[in-house]
Amino acid sequence: MIQYIVRRLLVAIPMLLGAMSIVFFAMRVLPSDPCVAMMGGDATAAALADCSKNLGLDRPLAVQYVDYLWRSVRFDFGISFRQGYPVSEYIGRMFPHTFVLVMASAVVAALVGIPIGIISALKRRNPLIDYPLRIFALLGLSMPVFWLGILLLIVFSLRFDLFPLIGGGDLDGVISMIRSGEMFTYPRDFLKAVGDVLYHLTLPALALGFTLAATVSRLSRSAMLEVVSQDYIRTARAKGNIERIVIYKHALRNMMVPLLTIVGVFIAIALTGTVLTETVFTRPGLGKMLVDAIGARDYPLAQGAVTVFTMIIIVVNLVVDMLYAVVDPRITYR
């Protein structure tokens, strides 16, 4: 197993290098200039030349590339062109916001999507149940997250005043209390801070989670359909087990293997979805930061964000592969 993990990590290095190289050159191939993006129409030619020099963009491309790779090895992604913050520090502050959003929407998507997929598969011959559930899945697929987000804001924030309009809550406070151990000395304050984060997280997680739930429900449906047609399910029924036992004990566990396969893809979709979710709900986070960085041609920030995204996806896929062995004892790694 360890040998397998090491091998996978070694394979991840060229993948990471490839992604970093693509984003490095793609940013520079784009017909644009960070200085023009920053200084806009007011900039004179001399000012733009000065700006390029100050940002190190007047150096040969090869020198910039090697410098970028060498710094990245040390997790030093440079300084944000626009805001002047060290990129690593900036990503470090944004990452927890995106992480909790992705996790919360994954929970929503799983809680909503998996039961719907299962019921839809099992009751596929009952149009009164199957059709509404399929319509629900279609709705989720066709509703853009920004539209649903605005709708949720209008209803639950503006009309009923149940949830906040903007912000991500005091996540920094929660993290610092965990780090300092204050969560044990001031448990009430800690719980209040956690509640504040959840309070800010509810609507964004519902919006993103619901749109993802549609995909999950369709995949769960097909996974369940495949599993219930297997011989061991027929055997379980033949043994006289009641249907509920057959489904919960035999079908559900086996359905997890094909579902796990999509977790990697799911994380990628969720990360993409955070861009719009973070924008509509005015939450800090990596997704919105990346799009802003690309628009502003903030090379260090965009490069840093893509590197982190790639690492997340590599790690998630590795973990998923490990989990196969947990849910399916037939699989072993060597």
């Binding site: 200039d33 900039a43 000012a47 300084i79 804001l153 503006l158 309009l165 005015t282 919105k288």
Partner: protein, 535 residues
């Protein structure tokens, strides 16, 4: 139900109850201290820096005015703020040498910097100007101060600034705006730290920045003009106008700095019963026609282009009613030197006739015309595209990122350029940037100037205007410059769009009329210390 399923269901229900309890517990309820604080909540985009000498973005310049001041400021006349006149601010008086090249400013005594950085002295003024002239990395406005030859500190409260030659707009350059802001030398000597730890003399001081969420400013007790009534300013990073509107209605925000004010946006504000503060001179949207690029090198084609564009229709479609004013000159009203100009009337038949005379009886096609996907650009260009099509000029649009658009227009890829902007309110800097031959963009030399018309016809006038000390004669020079533009048909202004912020007037008051009660530049509120929380 099997036992393990029951257990799972019970766990989930318990977890849901716990989450609900936490969320319920976190629902807002202001403490008495919070309720008593007067907090101004602003929804705008996040600034890229708080160093006032370092950003050209609207939101960065708008927030800078809350924290910084200059030697002079725009004067309040008859209850209105004017951009045509200045009055003392951090300087209490000044004199000009007989030859017009040495300004001596007497500074106000006792003006304090934020956070205990001490009294503002002539050293701080010298530093503030020199850091820009010396092009300290990150500073953007040194070019506006190149007229300065030397700066001498006479005593802690007197500073002498020698110019290379007479500069008719020097007091405008010293206004608290962009290059005119005075910063603390002690704080700004480390520019990287200064970006997010700004120290000025303005009515509010910087408290904290939560990236991508908000910036908090607090009232400065020792502000020279007296402590503002507002205790705190919370500047939220809200990129979406839809979210801003919901926030205004909900009461989360008091002031909105929208990306763009459309008729729909204005209607929504009106329905809510709130106001839009309109501030001149605002930004002018206009076309520059590259007179060196065929077929626009033929003046008949340029005239045909202008006859084909229905400026009024564009203005009324995008900015109906009061949302903008039809432009009357290539130099906006509110700028020194402005005179009304005449432009070819909308007349598609005349346009076709002129095109035929110029050898294009069937019109022509412009391929790969680049236009920014942001701001007003795609909307204006789509309307203009339809109008041009009617006379046979087909424009094939390529909608690109804003940065790409800026890059491409500097590579002369567009034969005519749609552009907008605000400059210091005098004809000289405005005309210099857009019509002086040194600003012609040229990829071969790396010149990324903004003379998109490639115009060379007013260098003599611009030189003459810069040394003329008689105000009337200066005005005549710029009037002549505008007449030449009228003759050569290289600039077609469409509309003057005021700076517009939405305000909940039941919560926040300003002494100035919402309808052009202030002229301002990139910030809409010249005097944020006069804003008051009324409820």
């Amino acid at each position: 139900m099997p036992r393990h399923t029951r257990r799972l269901s019970s766990t989930l229900v318990a977890l849901a109850c716990l989450l609900a309890a936490l969320v319920w517990n976190a629902a807002p309820g202001a403490t008495p201290a919070e309720a008593q604080r007067k907090i101004l909540n602003i929804a705008a985009k996040e600034p890229d820096t708080l160093d006032p000498h370092s950003s050209t973005l609207g939101q960065s310049q708008a927030i800078a005015r809350f924290m910084f001041r200059g030697l002079t400021r725009f004067a309040i006349k008859d209850g209105k703020v004017t951009t045509a006149e200045t009055e003392p601010d951090l300087a209490e008086s000044w004199t000009l040498s007989p030859d017009g090249t040495v300004w001596t400013f007497k500074l106000r005594k006792g003006v304090q910097f934020h956070k205990g950085y001490g009294e503002m002295t002539a050293e701080d003024v010298k530093f503030s100007l020199e850091r820009q002239i010396n092009k300290t990395p990150g500073t953007r406005y040194g070019v506006n101060l190149e007229i300065i030859k030397s700066i001498e500190v006479v005593d802690p409260h007197t500073i002498q600034i020698a110019l290379k030659s007479f500069d008719p707009i020097f007091l405008l350059r010293m206004v608290g705006y962009q290059n005119g802001y005075i910063v603390s030398k002690k704080a700004a000597e480390k520019p990287d730290q200064f970006k997010w730890n700004p120290i000025g003399t303005g009515p509010f001081y910087f408290d904290r920045h939560v990236p991508r969420e908000k910036i908090v400013l607090k009232a400065f007790d020792k502000f020279a003009g007296g402590r503002p009534q507002i205790d705190e300013v919370h500047w939220y990073d809200v990129p979406e106008d839809a979210t801003k509107l919901i926030g205004l209605e909900k009461g989360t925000f008091d002031l909105l700095y929208p990306e763009v004010v459309t008729a729909d946006f204005a209607e929504q504000i009106k329905k809510m019963g709130y106001l839009i503060d309109r501030r001149g001179p605002g930004s002018q949207e206009r076309f520059y026609i590259n007179m060196t690029k065929p077929p626009f090198d033929d003046i008949r084609v340029r005239r045909a282009f202008m006859h084909a564009i229905d400026r009024k229709a564009i203005k009324e479609t995008l900015y109906p009613g009061d949302l903008a004013r039809l432009a009357t000159s290539c130099v906006s009203p509110g700028y020194f030197g402005h005179i009304p100009m005449q432009f070819p009337e909308y007349n598609p038949e005349m346009a076709k006739k002129l095109l035929a005379e110029a050898g294009h009886p069937n019109g022509f096609t412009i391929k790969n015309y680049f236009i920014s996907k942001s701001f007003f650009y795609p909307k204006v260009l789509t309307l203009a595209q339809e109008q041009l099509k009617k006379v046979g000029i087909n424009v094939e649009l390529q909608i690109v990122e804003h940065a790409t658009f800026h890059e491409n227009i500097r590579k002369n890829l567009n034969p005519f350029v749609l552009y907008g902007g605000t400059r210091i309110t005098d004809a000289d800097p405005w005309l210099s940037l857009f019509f002086e031959s040194t600003e012609i963009p040229d990829p071969a030399t790396g010149n990324k100037g903004t003379n998109f018309a490639h115009y060379k016809g007013m260098d003599d006038l611009l030189q003459a205007g810069r040394v003329e000390r008689d105000v009337k004669k200066r005005a005549a020079i710029y009037a002549e410059a505008q007449k030449r533009l009228e003759r050569d048909l290289v600039c077609l202004p469409l509309e003057d769009v005021p700076g517009q912020w939405a305000r909940n007037q039941k919560r926040v008051s300003t002494p100035f009329s919402p309808d052009y009660g202030e002229y301002s530049l990139h910030y809409s509120y010249n005097y944020p210390e006069l804003l008051k929380i009324v409820n």
